[in-house]
Every structure is written in C-alpha cells, then in structure tokens.
Symmetry: C2
Subunit: 350 residues, 2 copies
Amino acid sequence: MPYDYLVMGTGGHAFLPGIPGQDLEGVFTLKNLTDAIKIKRYINEKQCRKAIILGAGFIAMEMSEAMRRHDIETTIVYRGELPARKWDPEFSKVILEELNNNQVTFVPHTKPVAIEKGTNSLLRLVTDNGEMDADIIFMALGVRPNARLAKEIGLQIGETRAIHVDSSQRTSREEIWSVGDCCEVYHRVSGKWVYMPLGDVSNRQGRIAGQNISGHTVIFPGVVGAQSFKMFNLEVATTGLDEKAATRNGFEPVANIIWGNPIAASLAKSLPDPRKLGIKLIGDRSTGKLLGAQAVGTENVVSRINVLSVALWSELTLDDIGYIDLAYSPYFSGAWDPVQTAAQILRRKL
Amino acid sequence: MPYDYLVMGTGGHAFLPGIPGQDLEGVFTLKNLTDAIKIKRYINEKQCRKAIILGAGFIAMEMSEAMRRHDIETTIVYRGELPARKWDPEFSKVILEELNNNQVTFVPHTKPVAIEKGTNSLLRLVTDNGEMDADIIFMALGVRPNARLAKEIGLQIGETRAIHVDSSQRTSREEIWSVGDCCEVYHRVSGKWVYMPLGDVSNRQGRIAGQNISGHTVIFPGVVGAQSFKMFNLEVATTGLDEKAATRNGFEPVANIIWGNPIAASLAKSLPDPRKLGIKLIGDRSTGKLLGAQAVGTENVVSRINVLSVALWSELTLDDIGYIDLAYSPYFSGAWDPVQTAAQILRRKL
C-alpha cells in the first residue's frame, strides 16, 4: 500500500509471566476494551466468586476495587513485600491497609508457577508458596511496547525497547510517525527518553503527531511522570523521579515525608474519612530543585501532585515551592498548604 | 519602650459606607474573631430571622451560606449588577443562580442610604431603591489597611495606602518590619506592589519577616493572586490578572471561557451535582504567556486554579500549559484536562 506518511500506533501488550496454563480460559490480561468486555461476560456466565490478581501495581489496585464492588473474594499475589512499589514503603503500607480494610487478601513474596484447571473453583494457581483456588485470574504484571513491526522495517528502537521518536513524534524514518504505548517519551526531569504507557501521554502524542503531519511544527515538551490512581477511599499519586531513579540519573536525592491535613485542620475532623495526607518530596542536594513527589490520602491528593508536577515542569526549587501562591480557603487547605510545609522542611535537610 | 526591632502587624479593618446608623446594635463587620463571637451571641439572643448583607464579594458569599445554614432569611444588597465581580459575568451568573437555588435574595443596583431601628424587624435598611427589614445587617464591603500608626511615625506608605515593604518585609525604616493586612505584597504577574489582605499571604509574610529578623536572608517571592471560596455547592477560584488589570499593566489580554468536565466524562454523570467546570484563561498576545485564570464549578475547581497558579508563578506560556503533564486518572480528570484544553483553544486565538 503506497503512502505519503504513516503513523505507527501499535500500542502495548500486557506482560505475561510465561508459566504453564497462562492461556487457560478464565485467565485475563487488563489492557484493552476487549479485555474488559470478555471479563464482564466471563464473570456473569461463570458466576465467579473468587479472583486472583497477579501483580501489585496501579492496575492491580484498581482491579481489586472493581472485584470487591462485585462482591468477589479477591487475592493479590505479588513477588515483593508491599503493593504499589513505585511509592515509598510508608505509603505502600497505607495502601496495604486499604486493601485489608476492603477484604482484599494480599499475599507477598509469592511467585506464580503454573495455572491449572481447578476442582473447588474453576482454576488453581500454583505458586512457590502453595496453591490457591480462583474462578478468574488477572495478569497485571505491566505493559510492554508492541515494537515488532517497527523493528522489522528497521526503525530505531530505544533502550526501553519501545520505538524511538523525536519531539515531533517522528521515528528514525522521515515519513513514519509513532504515538502511544509503542513508543518512548521524553522525561523532562531525568532528561532521558523513557517508556511510560499512559492514556493521557498517548493523547498528547497523537495531537502532536497530527499537527506536525499537517504542516504545523509543534514540539512535544515531554512528561514529568505524573500519574495517579484511586482505590477504595484512597487517592494515590506520584510525579517526577523517586530516589533510586534520581540517583541513577546523577542527582543527589534527599527526601522527606510529612503527614498533614488535606483541608484546614479545623474542618478536617468533619471529613467522612479524616485520614491524613502524606506527601513525600525528593529534592536535589546540589541544585535545591524538586526532583519528584509522592502522595497518598483520602482527599485532594492528586491536586497536590498536579501542583508539584507543574513545579517540576518549571524546574522550581524547594525555596520557590515553600512560598508558592495557592488559592487558600479552609475548605481546600490550611493557610499553609502541606505542599509548602513539605518543601520548607525538606529544604532544611539539603 | 526601647527596642532593637519592631514588627508592625496592625492588620486591616472592614470598610464602612459612612451612612447614618451604621453603628447601631445589630450591624456587624466581618473581619475578626471578635466579630464572629459577637455575631453568634447576637443571633442567639435576638432570635434573628432576617439578615441583610451589604456587598457581594467572597466574604458576602461565604456569609450568605452561613446564614442559610442557620435558616435565616438572607438578602444581599449590592450596587452592581452581579455578585463576585472579580469573576467574569458568565461565572457571576452561575454564582447568582447558586444564591437563588439556596433561597438567598440578590438585590442588584442598590446602594445603602441609612440604617434605622425597625418596627417589623429589629432594623430597617434604607436604600436608594426602597426600604428593607432585617434583624441583623452585615457590612462586607472590603478591607482597608490599618496604616495610621505607620504614617504617624513616618514610614513610607504605598499607592495602595498600605505600608510599603521590601522583599524581606522591611519597611522604609531599617529596624521596622511589617506583615499582614496592613502592608503591600509584590504581585509577580503585574510586577507591582498590591494590597491583597488574605490569610495565607499574611502567614507567609510573617515567616519571611521572622527569618530575616533572626539573621537568615530570605526573600518573599511574592504572590500571583490566587484565591478561592466555597459557597453552597460551588467552588470558585481565581489567580493572576483579569483583563482589566492586564490592560492596565501594559499587557494585551486575550481571553476565553470553556466548560468541561471536572472528572472523566464517563464518570461525570455519577457526580452528586453534575454541573460543568468553567475555566476562563487570560493570555498575553505578544508573549503567549498566561496572565490569569478564573474557574467555577462543583468539583476540582480550586485544584485547577492551583495548577494555573504554579504556571503563572513560572511564567509558562499557553503552549506549555496545553501540553502540561498532570496525574491523569478518570476519577480526577479526562485524558485531556480542561486546563490543557482551555490553553490550547486560547492559544489559537492569540
């Protein structure tokens, strides 16, 4: 098929552990709308009562809430110690509590070995830590780029194994653009091209490619790594680099966690769930700049991470953030926002 | 009394219209904790049934909600056409609707002439537009700086009539600092010293003065004019300059309003009050930079204005904001946040 230009949006696919039985009926990935439709149909047809989720990232967390809403007994099986390992262990413990509070069983330090047809339930998961029954099993082990076609036609592939693009979303071949979960994206904080398969990033890339193809020169300014999810009564969000990534990228990270009120202290007691807002900031010792942030809580968590995302975008220092001007009213924060307090405290540690 | 240094925190006072009867029992200002205590006592003692609020700024809006919560018949009397005139008339109309929905009567184009003792009620308000009964009358007509003492000892007073300070909060006399509602603050967008008597600003000024007095050189980086209030089911917020202020400060403002969803469209229907989020952006034609923003809606309004406040702080352009990286999840926004959409649309109008 002859073409003037081509946009490669081959997407990503769910990572599979490569264990026997992973293709049995009742084992699902969580990537596409088709997955969702198949899952709904299967749950209804088979009257599923028990689910196992492999993995403990944000998709696993969201899926556990979806299962509990359908009153399905839910177990998360994970090779590590705590869920949501992108976040600080102090926050992951809050997330684990939230799972427990909502009757989700979390089984740590456990790897799947095989999936078999079950006897008590429809399926049986064999692990290095015993066997478990389930009617449905979800693979929430991460996403990998679909870059095979790109590789076959000789496009440059990045170190992340995703398609290499420039800031106009053009690949190494002049007439081919690429957008979405198959390609890399520029991370403004690390200065590296990374793989970050997120829906909002794909949307922005698509618009950038479209504008460039239609003759407008528009540069995709990159991402700072902002992301969030909701699970039960918790909001969880992060932006920028964690300490490990910061060190790997040549920074000298210093971090601190504070627990504050999502709204004015005098009103916080009246919240339906008056748990504190936890904010972790990571700063760079040599420049005093913010490098990253994480937050967890019941209210106004994502809004704080968005403020910090713009701060990262603009390379603000902790000095700036400590005195940043926000729209104060007791219903939305204290006269000192936890973001300001966190920045001031971390500043003194640098 | 001899001293090494002095901090002048003389505060502000409520503006009074200078009409006969403004000092009658039952007429209150809304500035201090003492006002609140007196008001509560008076309402209880006198079994107040009817209140009139003079003024239609954010304090008047907040007071109207407080009165309605006590089931007191409430009327707002205002010389202008619409409430909350800091905001675009399109948004002020939404605010007016919210007043009406909550049984607050709004009387426009009306000036107070006198207050008298009443017959049907405890008080009578005489206006250029007829008389009205009330048991309690509130003066919410703005705040003025208490700068008399400063003037008397010869401190420099700014054009705003508030005390002039520098970025360390020092007045024109080396050993005197000043903070709070009596002094000016630097506005980063206009580059001018302005009067902005807000609680969070005072807090920041206080900390800056304290640090400088104790020997640390710390600069107050100023404000961008972020502010917000809640009234009934509405969040209302603004930051930066409106078109008038922008023109006055030598910019060439171009503005646009969009109405979007506070969370993903697919989930917005499930909100208790699924009204749209309105965002107005004001940009500068010659530089492409953001100059100001306003927003109104039922959810996640202040969080958007905070994002835009950091953008203003960092002098971001509409190009930047159109592709800014925020922590997307359907529970907190669409894959395109209304902030991004608003910036892209305004960008095309420049």
